[in-house]
């Protein structure tokens, strides 16, 4: 080992002498949504010195939303992410409710939006668990990569694959009848919704809801069984001790559409509770690191070093006092009690928690389908016009923050977004460093070992697509030549140059 590179380095974030080390990249990350890569730096003895999850793409939504009329925003921002478009649609619509002073919404508007949101939770959790993550869990982390996908699952476990596809379909259908279209619909508008359900639409969903709930219960049991088959591995794999953050309803219940912010430290202390989310910006700051376009949020009171936290299914199931639907709450209690809480803090326990939430979503959908308000005709309200609008919602992957300013001409002048995956940025980095230390360090790297890193990332279900909304810069010079050999685009190192 080199005399210049002491081992082990204190954190695997930054190697002291990167120039002496060998680089291994996992690129692109597969079976996750969006674009990202992981780089590892290793010495000649295969000891790991640096591990980083990079977000490599940039888009610029926060900027080009500025100058648009506010009512366009809920439709535009969906194009941040085709996997959870409804989350962005609704977070923006909630912010715009404040702009138009619509408080409270009509019962019909509120319930149709909730229906849309829980449809989204159901379809996204199904997609994540069955289509993306289940191959690792069913076949093993270093199983044959040619089979380690949903096609392999369809061959080996056809019933599992079929139910996954049909669960996702049901969630997408709930979205279609509430938003007009499965991907990038238009259901929510500032102050309400533009449609409610027809009787025929409701009855079509009612026909399938009990089957859906039954399959969701099976899915929870499948996730649990997979965990129990290898408890030691599942308990320890990528485990991190993290503070946690989620929206919670006023009575302490899980509520994925609305609530106040609750944060609890890694040792169980309440950091804040029922915090009015209009003040989120006093409590959550963000750090920039030069190697990722994704920022690193932290709880301001604890500072950038210690203040990072986890959001998403694991945080929500652990932070709420109860889940307000019976089957899911029963599963929550069993999950928390399992091996004295071992699963409730483990990275791979997130899959189990995710399936509990999927079951909860199906139960909420059932209750809403029985509520006559979803057929109502009072769709929109208006009140006193405001300049600032903040909308926060629990997206499938965690807390999602939209924050806008709108001037008297109805034009957006400022936009700040903190998406779920960004909240989990440091948590994911810590988790893959733990995996690298534990399973990769000092070993010859194989495809199967590298997949271990991706297994940890997949547990968070990151939506790297959402996380690329920020803008980046161009560090060097490059020329883009078209198929005919003509120059189409050219870049320079200077970020201040015209671009």
């Amino acid at each position: 080992m080199s005399t210049f590179a002491p081992y082990p380095p204190p954190s695997l974030e930054t190697a002291e002498h990167p120039e002496q080390l060998r680089r291994v990249a996992i690129e692109p990350l597969s079976r996750v949504e969006g674009h990202g890569k992981v780089t590892l730096l290793l010495d000649e003895n295969d000891r790991v010195h640096q591990v980083r999850l990079h977000i490599v793409e940039f888009r610029g939504f926060e900027k080009f939303i500025q100058g648009r009329p506010y009512w366009e925003v809920p439709v535009m921002v969906q194009r941040l992410c085709g996997i959870c478009p409804v989350s962005h649609h609704l977070a923006a619509a909630k912010a715009m409710d404040q702009i138009v002073g619509a408080h409270p919404l009509t019962p019909t508007a509120e319930k149709v939006r909730r229906l849309m949101h829980y449809g989204q939770i159901l379809q996204s959790h199904a997609l994540h668990f069955f289509h993306l993550a289940s191959p690792d869990l069913l076949f093993g982390f270093d199983s044959d990569p040619a089979r380690r996908n949903i096609v392999g699952v369809a061959q080996a476990h056809p019933e599992v694959a079929k139910k996954g596809v049909l669960l996702r379909k049901f969630g997408q259908e709930v979205i279609r009848v509430t938003a007009g279209k499965r991907v990038h619909g238009t259901g929510a508008i500032p102050g309400g919704v533009n449609k409610s359900l027809s009787l025929a639409e409701r009855d079509a969903l009612l026909k399938d809801i009990y089957q859906t709930i039954a399959w969701c219960r099976e899915a929870v049991h499948l996730a649990r069984r997979l965990y129990e088959q290898n408890p030691q591995l599942y308990n320890e794999f990528g485990r991190i001790d993290a503070h946690q953050l989620a929206l919670i309803r006023a009575d302490g219940a899980m509520d994925l559409y609305h609530g106040g912010l609750r944060a609890r430290s890694r040792d169980g202390q309440t950091l804040f509770d029922h915090l009015d989310y209009n003040h989120y910006w006093e409590h959550i700051f963000e750090e920039v690191k030069p190697w990722s376009y994704m920022k690193f949020p932290f709880l301001r009171a604890l500072g950038p070093e210690a203040g990072w936290y986890r959001v998403g299914p694991l945080a929500r199931v652990a932070l709420c006092d109860f889940i307000p639907t019976p089957f899911a709450d029963q599963e929550r209690r069993e999950f928390l009690a399992w091996a004295e809480g071992a699963a409730a803090g483990s990275t791979l326990g997130t899959h189990w928690a995710r399936m509990i939430e999927m079951l909860h979503a199906a139960e909420v959908i059932k209750d809403l389908l029985h509520d006559p308000d979803i057929l109502g005709e009072e769709l929109v309200t208006r009140g006193e016009r405001q300049e600032r609008g903040i909308g926060i919602i629990e997206a499938p992957r965690g807390t999602l923050i939209h924050h806008y300013r709108v001037n008297e001409e109805d034009v957006v002048t400022r936009c700040n977004l903190i998406v779920s995956t960004t909240h989990n940025n440091q948590a994911m980095n810590e988790s893959i460093r733990q995996v690298a230390r534990r399973y990769l360090d000092g070993r010859r790297l194989t495809e199967g070992l590298l997949n271990h890193i991706e297994v940890a990332i997949r547990a968070f279900d990151p939506c790297l697509s959402c996380a690329t909304h920020a803008l980046g810069r161009m560090p060097l010079m490059v020329e883009l030549i078209d198929a005919q050999g003509r120059s189409v685009d050219r870049l320079t190192r200077d970020a201040s140059a015209a671009c």
Partner: protein, 181 residues
């Protein structure tokens, strides 16, 4: 290469939102019928990291950085038929809204002057691929054989298109299947 009688298909998302891939999955249980006819190469659903020789390549999203260019060229080189799926691939789509902006000023704002930032700086690590100053549609970089408009194109449109292609017919999207939203 493909198993006998099956077409090999690769898909990827460049500067897109994955919504077009979601729409592809919205064929629902028809997915299993599709798998009788095709097998997947690189796609977001498989762990194949580089596109190999394929019959059909389907691309979502436009081209916004140097890495997108590389992946697109790899697809063109390996795929007999290349399809631009969705508004972003066909025109650049919503991400191309940034084409009229001054990138320097945007960067300043997002990474330096926004409130609540610590360590404000513009990310510039060599691991981050070079962003292009404009978002380009695919056909400005490589030859594209088919374009499917829509944001995203509907599952039925994608299904009709693929089944035509697989059956050896010229794909035709009739009334109701072509949408420009």
């Amino acid at each position: 290469m493909a198993e006998a009688g099956k077409l090999r298909v690769a898909t990827t998302s460049l500067a897109g939102c994955f919504g077009c891939h979601m729409s592809l999955l919205d064929i629902d249980e028809r997915l299993f019928a599709l798998l009788e006819k095709v097998e997947f190469d690189r796609t977001p659903l498989t762990d194949i990291k580089h596109c190999g020789p394929c019959d059909i390549g389907i691309i979502e999203g436009g081209v916004c950085n140097a890495e997108n260019v590389e992946v697109l060229r790899e697809f063109r080189k390996n795929c007999k038929i290349l399809i631009a799926m969705g508004a972003c691939a066909v025109t650049g789509g919503l991400p191309a809204q940034r084409n009229h902006l001054d990138l320097g000023a945007c960067l300043q704002e997002v990474y330096l002057t926004e409130p609540g930032l610590v360590n404000g700086q513009i990310p510039n690590d060599p691991e981050l691929p070079l962003p292009l100053d404009q978002v380009h549609p695919l056909h400005e970089v490589v030859k594209v054989d088919y374009f499917i408009p829509g944001c995203p194109p509907s599952a039925d449109a994608i299904w009709k298109f693929l089944t035509d292609l697989i059956a050896g017919r010229t794909p035709r999207l009739g009334h109701g299947l072509i949408e420009y939203d």
